[in-house]
Symmetry: C2
Subunit: 230 residues, 2 copies
């Protein structure tokens, strides 16, 4: 399938790599192709410069945001939270009718660590995005665990933990849920409801950040433990 990933950070790279391994036709979209390829320093998380990473992933295409958004039948939003709404809004026509798998988080680092959220409680980043691209189908998912677990859930406890999906369009949610299960290996995917339920998923981030800082290990997730259905 033709798939697009917006964003060149570790989340975008993890998805592009995984999907290319599965023989999909993947294009990463970036604001400035030349600048992305020319990066020469590791990012603030210590990830190698994008150009270097790209050399060892020759089977993954690189294009502008617009080229990638046109290319993908499903478009993965792996942009930083603060860039997501404006960037996706600028791609409104390319994204028309498409499913957007939104992983972004509204993290606000401007007041120091730990980050707070720049939108929460009575609204969410996913809802802001959905309002910015009303003719696309936004499905919020995978924003609640690190990039490696997002695409390889079985790396942790044989996959015995939970992913959530939120979205207004049930076909798009079904498509994303299948992608999570069949391509990435997720076993437990809970449909929280319409896109407003992304508030709940995004408001998990403060817990994620605190657990990360207390355990110094990002390889964790939460599992919803429920009574076995009879």
């Amino acid at each position: 399938m033709k798939l697009a990933v917006l964003g060149t950070g570790m989340v975008g790279r993890a998805h592009a790599e995984k999907l290319a391994q599965l023989k999909h036709d993947v294009m990463i979209g970036t604001r400035d192709v030349k600048k992305s390829l020319g990066e020469s320093k590791p990012d603030m998380m210590g990830n190698p410069p994008f150009g270097e990473w790209k050399k060892s992933h020759a089977n993954i295409r690189l294009g502008t945001f617009s080229e990638a958004a046109k290319h993908g039948e499903i478009v993965i939003n792996a942009l930083k939270g603060e860039a997501s709404v404006s960037t996706l809004q600028s791609l409104k026509s390319e994204l028309r009718g498409k499913t957007i798998l939104d992983i972004s988080n509204p993290l606000d680092f401007s007041k120091g660590m730990p980050p707070s959220l720049f939108v929460c409680n009575t609204d969410s980043l996913a809802e802001q995005i959905q309002r910015a691209v009303p003719q696309s189908h936004v499905v919020k998912t995978l924003n609640t665990m690190n990039a490696f677990l997002q695409v390889n859930p079985n790396m942790l406890e044989n996959g015995n933990h939970t992913a959530f999906v939120s979205g207004n369009d049930s076909n798009a949610k079904t498509k994303v849920t299948q992608m999570l299960k069949e391509w990435y290996g997720w076993k437990d995917v809970i449909d929280l409801g319409d896109i407003s339920t992304a508030r709940a998923a995004e408001m998990l981030l403060p817990l994620w950040v605190r657990l990360w800082s207390s355990t110094q290990n990002a390889n964790f997730n939460i599992k919803v433990v429920q009574e076995k259905k009879l």
Copy 2:
């Protein structure tokens, strides 16, 4: 041990009953003793009137907020979120030097269902309470699951799920953690850090509410799934 429970709702009742079963000397505190005993209608959740419940729990004392706060060596705050700060502030002298086990949630039902939070993100109800009673030791815990699971975690999946504690005073946190483990049977109690980490625990409520509404069964909790330590 002499223990106090502030609040006559289902959370307060569950803790008082459990602690009395364990042979502790428990006093429930309420705003107006006569009024609480005189209630004749079930509450909005369908719980029996308090006076009726109290008759079958003769071993549990009932007093004013002030009498209960004086009585308890540890004081459990099971009040509604919106009443918590003002009530605890009015008990400042009775609560001086004591550990307050705070279960309250900042739920705002004023804008309809599902509730939002009246404080979150850059502050929390637990922090508001701690500021209101600076000479007491507030430990936020057990606000992330229903009352029955709070005091009987083994009712669900043999207790294989998580409780969190947040607080500034490590002795108070140790005391509360022991109480959770030895009296209630909790196996997995994670110390998130200082009282500001209660933001993370309180911001789990939107997820709780959405899961409750999608499963129609309040008997669930989350488990933090981590790599086994080597």
